[in-house]
């Protein structure tokens, strides 16, 4: 497959390799080295690293600045951008700012509602939604124009991604929604954390039935559980998350000190199984505040070493 941007992630996917991405959450302060330290640890085990954009609506160091730090250390960043906090002027402006530092990947999201975070009294923006942001980046890149119609002097060259949650309700519209994001111009998808493998496989089958797996690169999202408590929390408290009872029981069934190990095991087993699913083109390994475990997950899943592509 030919590539449209200088993105290393795009090249790896186009060459037919299973891609591996991970993500780092920026700190709640101005210590930029928190990000570079996390990235230093995992950089040889992944092809690109997402930097979250004030995830769960908790104010943090901005994604763009953190991505620039990664870029300067030679790591490929994926700029996450939510439409919750910026109108179309700010979104386009930040995209250009990112492009000026040669950031080549963007993940277009609407973002969690501000009620979850540290500023529930704040206004949200949602001038655009995630689908319209996908359209915006593609328009800026492919037409070389601002939404307002003026020409951009040196348009951004970004590989455009979005999230998909096969587990949110109603299930019947989850594949049509993927189709809608593809129609908007999305080029890669990172999914919500997968614990219910049967449901994910059904979603992928429905996507394949419409030929969608050939129109977009789908990276399956996985997150290891650190403890049984985390599994229960994810099951009960995180919106849009589907953690089957048997997974929670498996975590609770081992002694506390063995639970982290069990969590990694479940994660690796999931990757092994998902590798066989037609249409899965890679993995997005989200080890939340447990980045050091990305190494062994990638290694044990047979995804190491990463391909060398310039």
């Amino acid at each position: 497959m030919s590539t449209k941007t200088p993105s290393r992630l795009e090249k790896i996917l186009a060459a037919g390799h299973m891609a591996v991405t991970s993500e780092c959450g920026p700190p709640r302060g101005s210590k930029g080295e928190v990000i570079t330290k996390k990235a230093e640890m995992i950089k040889d085990y992944v092809d690109a690293i997402n930097i979250t954009d004030n995830q769960t609506s908790v104010t943090r160091l901005c994604s763009l600045a953190a991505c620039i730090r990664l870029k300067l250390m030679g790591v490929e960043p994926i700029l996450q951008m939510v439409t919750r906090d910026r109108n179309r002027i700010a979104l386009q402006s930040d995209i250009l700012g990112a492009a000026s530092f040669d950031l080549y990947n963007i993940l277009c999201l609407s973002g969690d509602h501000q009620q979850f975070g540290d500023s529930p009294q704040g206004q949200n923006v949602f001038d655009l939604d995630s689908i319209q942001l996908i359209q915006t980046v593609r328009y800026m890149r492919d037409e070389g124009k601002f939404l307002g119609g003026d020409d951009i002097d040196q348009p951004p060259k970004m590989f455009v991604g979005a999230a998909a949650n096969p587990f949110a309700d109603p299930f019947e519209i989850r594949v049509p929604r993927l189709a809608k994001k593809i129609a908007a111009g999305v080029e890669f998808i990172q999914t919500q954390c997968i614990y219910n493998l049967e449901k994910f496989e059904l979603w992928m089958k429905m996507a394949r039935d419409r030929g969608l797996h050939e129109k977009v690169y789908i990276l399956a999202g996985v997150t290891p559980f650190k403890s049984a408590g985390m599994a229960k929390y994810m099951k009960n408290r995180v919106p849009g998350m589907d953690v089957p009872d048997e997974v929670v029981n498996r975590m609770s069934g081992v002694p506390k000190e063995k639970q982290p190990e069990e969590g990694i095991k479940i994660c690796v087993e999931s990757i092994q199984r998902l590798k066989e699913v037609e249409g899965v083109k890679g993995f997005h390994v989200m080890a939340i505040e447990w980045e050091e475990k990305v190494l062994e997950i990638v290694e044990q899943s047979g995804l190491y070493p990463r391909p060398k592509i310039e």
Partner: protein, 222 residues
């Protein structure tokens, strides 16, 4: 209709603390339906204020009335004598009524006794909910007659987001996901294919972000 909610009594007390001759003026239209600013609420609030002042050993004189529609100059002209006769007007109308009074009676202090909450309807006795955001460019033909701008917590035009679970919004299990309701209704109308149409970037200019809105009908002004 416009749904309102009476302000906290402590807040009202503070607002009127320096006045001793007050007109409490309700409105018999929308806010009377939401039991916030009709004649009955005027009477109850006036009694509370009297009682409070009496306990504090302070004098107060309260005139009680309600206009048919406080957002209409024609109706507020009829209370001119009452307005002239008081130090301050505590209005129990929506924000439009309060401003109409302020515009008509420029020398008089007009205070709001209500918070204007939203444009909505009575779901059942004692329960009101929002339905319209007044965005200036109605899209209900595309969304099965349910408004995502007013009723989706993120106002998403291409919803639902990934936080919709069991028909509820990610912000609370008490809040319906309007996109689930839209899907249910489109399915019932055999129009589910509408969900795959991309809703284009919206022009918010007419929704108030382009400045205060005004409509001029030349056929009527001539």
């Amino acid at each position: 209709m416009i749904v309102g909610q009476q302000k906290d009594f402590e807040e009202i007390k503070k607002m009127i603390s320096s006045y001793n001759r007050i007109l409490v003026l309700g409105c018999q239209t929308c806010v009377a339906v939401s039991f916030a600013g009709g004649m009955r609420e005027v009477e109850i609030l006036a009694s509370m204020i009297r009682m409070d002042r009496k306990m504090a050993g302070q004098d107060i004189e309260i005139i009680e009335d309600a206009t048919l529609r406080q957002c209409d100059f024609e109706f507020i002209d009829s209370v001119e004598n009452l307005v002239d006769d008081c130090d301050v007007v505590l209005s129990l109308a929506c924000g439009v009524g309060v401003q109409a009074l302020a515009e008509r009676y420029p020398d008089k202090v007009i205070l709001p006794g209500l918070n204007t909450s939203f444009m909505g309807l009575t779901e059942k006795m004692g329960v009101w909910s929002e339905r319209c955001a007044g965005c200036g460019n109605c899209i209900l033909d595309k969304t099965g007659g349910l408004c995502p701008i007013a009723r989706c917590s993120k106002g998403l035009l291409n919803g639902p987001c990934g936080g919709s679970m069991d028909g509820k919004c990610e912000i609370s299990s008490d809040v319906d996901c309007v996109w689930q309701l839209i899907i249910d209704r489109l399915r019932a109308l055999n129009q589910l294919e509408k969900l795959e149409e991309i809703f284009p970037i919206k022009d918010w200019d007419v929704s108030g972000h382009g400045g205060t809105r005004k409509i001029i009908r030349e056929d009527l002004t001539a």
